[in-house]
């Protein structure tokens, strides 16, 4: 089972991001369970969502305390909330930022975790460019697909289109693909899946 935890703030589409991952996994014929931490969901408050993916039915229902991957949609949370709590040593970290991990003050993380599995993606910038709105959630999933290989970028695209039919979805797909390519490039891998 793969466990993903997404951190962000209310209004940033954190819950939707987890749902999209679950739909992408479903598209690939896998079982997936996505749900939010049910805190006070007022705009701006820290929000967490979860997604489990497995090849068999997922029965467990608790929040994810030992994630295999983290997506951090809002870097202002980094030093406010313990976003890294429980992350396995082989865990993946994807942070939405145009700055590098060093610049974010996360240099020491590479001592705890695997540096090739940690990356910053300027998802908000990409979202502004391709969506006209600073909504990075779907965009980040493109980066997530590239970083972990857990779900394909085509599945991510299918999930986005299912949840957001029409031009909004299409623009998000374009931006997600850009993020995918960005991460691939960062890791020195070929851009096509």
């Amino acid at each position: 089972m793969f466990q993903l935890r997404i951190h962000g703030r209310g209004g940033q589409g954190v819950v939707t991001a987890a749902e999209l991952v679950s739909i992408a996994a479903f598209v690939e014929g896998r079982h997936a369970q996505a749900f939010p931490s049910f805190g006070s969901e007022r705009s701006g408050a820290p929000v967490v969502s979860f997604c489990r993916i497995d090849d068999r039915e997922i029965r467990v229902r608790e929040p994810i305390s030992e994630p295999d991957a983290l997506i951090i949609q809002d870097p202002t949370l980094l030093h406010q909330v313990d976003v890294f709590g429980g992350l396995s040593d082989d865990g993946y970290i994807l942070i939405n930022s145009s700055r590098s991990l060093q610049e974010l003050g996360l240099g020491e993380l590479s001592e705890r975790f695997r540096s090739e599995r940690m990356l910053a993606v300027p998802a908000t910038d990409l979202a502004r460019e391709y969506l006209g709105r600073p909504l990075p959630n779907a965009v980040l999933l493109g980066g997530f697909a590239a970083l972990t290989g857990l779900i394909s970028i085509d599945s991510v695209a299918a999930a986005i289109r299912q949840k957001f039919p029409g031009p909004v979805g299409e623009r998000n797909v374009v931006a997600a693909r850009k993020a995918f390519e960005h991460v691939r490039a960062e890791r020195g891998e070929p851009a096509r899946a």
């Binding site: 987890a18 749902e19 679950s22 739909i23 996994a25 479903f26 079982h31 997936a32 369970q33 996505a34 749900f35 939010p36 931490s37 049910f38 805190g39 006070s40 408050a45 820290p46 929000v47 967490v48 997922i58 029965r59 467990v60 229902r61 608790e62 929040p63 305390s65 909330v81």
Partner: protein
């Protein structure tokens, strides 16, 4: 058709497939997504003919359902927690009048203190209302139970509440198989009321009944629920045959055959329990689980049969009868009257406190070693409690919630 969608939406689709004629909705977390989606379906005429009534309270919601059902319409509503309590009077009225209303309850804690997260206090508080109570373990089961519920309700002329854990199920995205309209139509015929308000044949519904007959009328409600024990199993069997999956029924044992220790529970926590059972079984522990799917009527004989050969029973429940202890365990104990075994009650998950596999593992191991007290509060912060009790001992201390939240440091920071 297989879909990956939110539990609420799956339930709304199932309800729509049952062709309700009157839906009355009052919003309350965490049921709102269900009634919102049904509203969309009515507006687009996907659900037609159907009258969607936006009522002014839950008391009104159940009352509108009563009027609609008495006039021969298939009626539906949904609620949770405070809303369920607000309609309590109407619940008893609906069951007393034998109206086959189906209602979703998105299980949620009851205040004070106000809390929107999951536990079973709400439906447990209405266990004596005369309604049939079914508990779903997964969103698939929640979907399926609504279809079974209408069949059951209309056959025995009693209302049925389908209980699903608020947020944990309602707001979780997972894979569900949504039946087709043809499948549901074949399983669920049109509603044929036993009594109906119709100018063609006027009847008086809701007369006053004095001491000379009330006892008998009330007994009939009990008799109907006893009949329901058989009907529930039949409907579940028919469902399995028609839809090719097991859903509902009275009980679901999990690796309980020959188990020395059996854990009893209701609802979604059974999933986490089953994972923990597997883990412990791999380590050679003789342990199993018993999921109670139907809480009212309570399947006394079936529970007894399932548990009688075990050495110990751990009842894990998400409700607390303040002043005495467990509710489910008291019902289970009734089933086990005369049987010798160790019984443990564990209260867990109140107000949405997460029940983790790790905690359950520890708990079950203690249980197997008979190290548990008769009544355990899982993952209770005893320090926090002690501090507050100490405050109370030293004079007027202010509201408990305020003091304790401050201790945890939750008030200043946002919760996460």
């Amino acid at each position: 058709m297989l879909k990956q969608e939110e539990g609420s939406r799956a339930v709304a689709e199932a309800v729509a497939l049952c062709r309700p004629e009157v839906i009355c909705a009052y919003p309350i977390s965490p049921q709102t997504h269900i009634v919102e989606h049904l509203s969309d379906l009515v507006r687009t005429h996907d659900l037609d003919p159907c009258e969607y009534v936006s009522v002014e309270s839950e008391f009104a919601a159940m009352s509108v359902a009563i009027g609609a059902s008495a006039a021969g319409a298939r009626a539906y509503t949904a609620t949770a927690s405070q809303g369920l309590l607000y309609m309590a009077e109407a619940l008893y009225n609906a069951s007393g009048l034998g109206l086959p209303i189906v209602m979703t309850v998105a299980n949620r804690a009851i205040g004070a203190p106000i809390n929107i997260w999951n536990d079973h206090s709400d439906t447990m508080s209405q266990r004596d209302s005369g309604w049939v109570q079914l508990y779903a373990e997964t969103n698939q089961e929640a979907l399926d139970l609504h279809i079974q519920a209408y069949r059951l309700a209309e056959e025995i002329s009693l209302p049925v509440m389908v209980c699903m854990d608020g947020f944990i199920l309602t707001h979780a995205y997972e894979r569900v198989d949504v039946p087709t309209q043809e499948q549901v139509d074949a399983f669920l015929p049109a509603y044929e009321p036993r009594q109906v308000l119709d100018p063609a044949e006027p009847v008086t519904i809701g007369a006053m009944v004095g001491p000379e007959a009330f006892f008998e009328v009330k007994y009939l409600a009990h008799a109907k629920q006893m009949q329901a024990l058989d009907v529930i199993s039949e409907v579940a069997a028919d469902f399995a045959a028609a839809f090719r999956r097991e859903s509902g029924g009275l009980l679901r044992p999990y690796r309980a055959d020959g188990a020395e220790t059996i854990v009893v529970a209701l609802g979604s926590v059974l999933g986490t329990i089953e994972e923990t059972i597997d883990e412990l079984r791999d380590e050679g522990v003789s342990i199993g689980a018993l999921g109670i799917k139907t809480f009212r009527p309570f399947p006394l004989d079936e529970v007894r049969e399932a548990l009688a050969d075990a050495k110990r029973v751990i009842v894990l429940e998400k409700a607390l009868a303040v002043g005495i202890g467990g509710i489910v365990s008291a019902n289970v104990r009734m089933a086990l009257s005369g049987v010798q075994l160790h019984g443990y009650t564990v209260i867990a998950g109140l107000g949405g406190r997460a029940i983790t596999q790790q905690s359950l593992r520890r708990l079950f191991k203690d249980g197997v070693a008979d190290k548990l007290k008769p009544l355990t509060f899982l993952d209770m912060d005893w320090e926090l409690v002690e501090r507050e009790l100490e405050r109370m001992r030293s004079g007027p201390s202010g509201p408990h919630e305020q003091n304790m939240l401050r201790d945890i440091g939750v008030v200043a920071a946002g919760s996460h």
